[in-house]
Amino acid sequence: MTDVLNPTHIQTEDHGHEEHHGPTGVLKWITTTDHKVIGMSYTITAVMMLVIGGLLAEIIRAQLASPTGGLVSLAQYNQLFTMHGSVMIYLFAGPFAFGAIANFLVPIQIGAPDMAFPRLNALSYWLYLTGCITMLSGFFTSGGAANFGWVGYAPLSNSMNSPGAGADLWIGALLLTGFSAIFTGVNLTATIFYLRAPGMTMFRMPIFTWNMLVTGILILLAFPVLTAGLIMLYADRHFGTHIFSVAGGGVPVLWQHIFWFWGHPEVYILALPFFGMVSEIIPVFAKKPTFGYKGMIFATLTIAALSLGVWAHHMFTTGVVLLPFFSAMSLLIAVPTGIKMFNWIGSMWRGQVWFSTAMLMSIGFVITFLIGGITGIYLASPPLDFFTHDTYFIVAHFHSVVMALVLGAMGGLYFWGPKMTGYLLNEKLGKSQFWFLFIGTQVFTFPQYLLGLRGMPRRMAVYPHDPQWQFLNQLSTLGAVLIGISTILFVVNVAVSWKKYPAGDNPWDGHTLEWFTTSPPPHHNFYRLPKIRSERPTWDYNHPEHKALAHGHNNEDVNA
């Protein structure tokens, strides 16, 4: 700790005397409060959820390859897409972002020894793991898993229409993972506000940390609303309340308001961490600072603010919220998102772009997110939403977005995996994984856009009257197979590269503090810290003659 407070003091050898003597092996993983070990647990669990969710998706796509299906029954199909969406949204995307990568990275990026509340952090993980098991155990109940879609609209989710235990397990799992997310939000926010190293001012924080701060605040604003809604839903199902039932004087559409008041900020709770990852990866592999650093931070804050006022754009077709306000707010989100897009392009502009796997994944993210973002603008317009809502156009839109996040997640694993484990992944396998994932994503989504415009609704187990949709569906299934192959390549890569390519402290010539410490970092993260005088302390330390140019100095001659 003295070294942290005395950043100029450089300690080169005798690392050994600070080593932490805690339990090892299984006991370490169970009893730890170290944010790095918890982050690793989160990473492993979340990637397993990604694989499970992906397997469910492959079954869905296999069923849709033929108009009459035949692989699964109508009832099983409803469970499949419900659990696919739930696993991916609740158990993979969010926890991977704020539980795995952020948990590991944020304290290191701000030069802190751990999270602000290490034991709360451990509780978050165990709640999350319990939630995963709870949700998936729905498959082993007599009635099967939840089957009312990942949004659980009332009154389909009431005890009359969805009587099984699977639905209750789904609600229970969401309560557990919801509290897990809230505690992580508390932890991230407190850590970032209170545990920054000397010199690490707010505007010297890495973009990823900034995005995690905003994500943490959004979690605190949004998740309690979902939790409250879930308790109401559970009360309706079991305690005889009538909050969402017409017969008892309740209002079913209230569930949609509550759900989407959480649900739209949730979109950014999912996306912002991946925006942050890509915003770290691209500048490092272009060897430039993040273009428009401050503009990007304000764009992130704007997105967060707007995200709280757009929930009703999920409900235009209910007919009860046609206020143009929601359309205007939703359209406006395109502006800060566009700023980010141009920041990423500007970070590469006139750089020295190194096509590592992490960089390819990030460029793939930017392209795929561009497609998902632009199709999202259509949906902010109520008349266009009327005829695309609940069709495959929507499915394609949000899969463009979430598959961009998967590309970002993979980029993050290739980029920070070496920091977490000390070993690099094989670049050759990584690049073939990228091409399968990137091409697979486009082959998967493009036919779905067309299917939606041709009138195919979502959540259809069969389409017996419309055999003309079969070819596009098969094309989409082919895309899903390519994505599946990319996942297998990732698993193969982890196995092949296991402890094979030592990473060293700073394999990518990184910018931020995590590249200043060892891979993996020691128990309390740092033996020493560099001077923090910009958002790139490690770069400044390694390249003191190449500091970022100030405002207005962009047209100077290089050698002047």
């Binding site: 993040t290 503009g295 502009w349 750089g351 008349p383 009327f386 069969v462 390249h543």
Partner: protein, 287 residues
């Protein structure tokens, strides 16, 4: 905010950019003005009602903006990644972090485009959600897993489940007012060729108006997950001439038709529903 002094050679670049800015901002409106005579369809259908055609033109306007802005941005991404591939592992580029004119440009320009798209949205939305004086009213009741169509002021009644695809008969060229309800869970009333969908919800009556341009039979189906047979909760919209429509309505005014009507309503009211109308005389629907 730090002040920025630009060297003089930057000025012509800015001028060119602001011209491009104006061009892009104007394009969506130009596209709307062209009304799709020469524009591609961008995958959608023009639709067979008056408002569906407005929606289609809005779709085209959004698509033109999307293709231009998306194509421009896509080109920039590819250019930035391939043009600036690293020359050697040690080369370090100039560490440019800010470029205020560019930053202002990519903030202001999207705002202008958004204002244009929002204005177009407002115009079309007001048209699509308007409920002009109807000449015909149809009460639509969605239930698990079928549809029931009744016509206030007549004994006409059509109902059917799943692949039975009941037909909603409406006249062409007239304002047909739809009162949409659900007796159980949420359903989606969706007619692809009308470029329109609306939720049927318990406890809420949704109203909208169709004005079909031509006769024909159009497929519709439930779009909102409603349980086991959601995938096959079909219906049809049969648009006929006003004369044929009158004849069709009258065909129910027989002892057999009246008996069937009353039987259906008695059965419905005996079951559970409080939403089913019992008297065929109300013109606004008895829900």
């Amino acid at each position: 905010m730090e002040s920025t002094t630009l060297p003089p050679q930057d000025a012509p670049i800015r001028k060119r950019r602001s011209r491009r800015l104006r061009l892009i901002a104007v394009l969506p409106f130009a596209a709307l003005a062209l009304s799709g005579c020469t524009l591609p369809k961008f995958g959608a259908v023009a639709g067979d009602t008056t408002s569906s055609q407005s929606v289609f033109h809005l779709w085209q306007a959004f698509s033109v903006a999307a293709v231009i802005i998306g194509g421009f941005t896509f080109g920039l991404i590819l250019w930035a990644s391939f043009r600036y591939r690293r020359s050697s592992a040690d080369a370090i580029p100039r560490q440019v972090q800010y470029h205020l004119p560019a930053e202002v440009l990519y903030t202001v320009l999207p705002i202008l485009v958004i204002v244009g798209l929002f204005a177009a949205t407002l115009v079309v939305e007001n048209k699509v959600t308007a409920n002009p004086k109807p000449s015909t009213t149809v009460n639509v009741l969605a239930f698990q897993w079928g549809w029931k169509f009744t016509y206030p002021g007549s004994y006409a009644l059509v109902t059917g489940q799943t692949t039975g695809s009941p037909e909603m008969v409406i006249p062409a060229g007239e304002n047909v007012h739809i009162n949409l309800r659900s007796s159980d869970v949420i359903h989606g009333f969706y007619v692809h060729d009308f470029n329109f969908s609306r939720f049927a919800q318990p406890g809420i009556k949704n109203e909208f108006t169709f004005n079909a341009l031509k006769t024909g039979t159009f497929f519709g189906q439930c779009t909102q997950l409603c349980g086991l047979y959601h995938s096959i909760m079909f219906f049809k919209v049969k648009v006929v001439t006003p004369q044929a429509y009158k004849v069709w309505l009258e065909s129910f005014n027989t002892p057999a038709g009246i008996a069937a009507y009353n039987a259906a309503n008695t059965a419905a009211s005996q079951q559970t529903s409080t939403h089913v109308d019992t008297k065929p005389t109300s013109s606004s629907g008895a829900y």
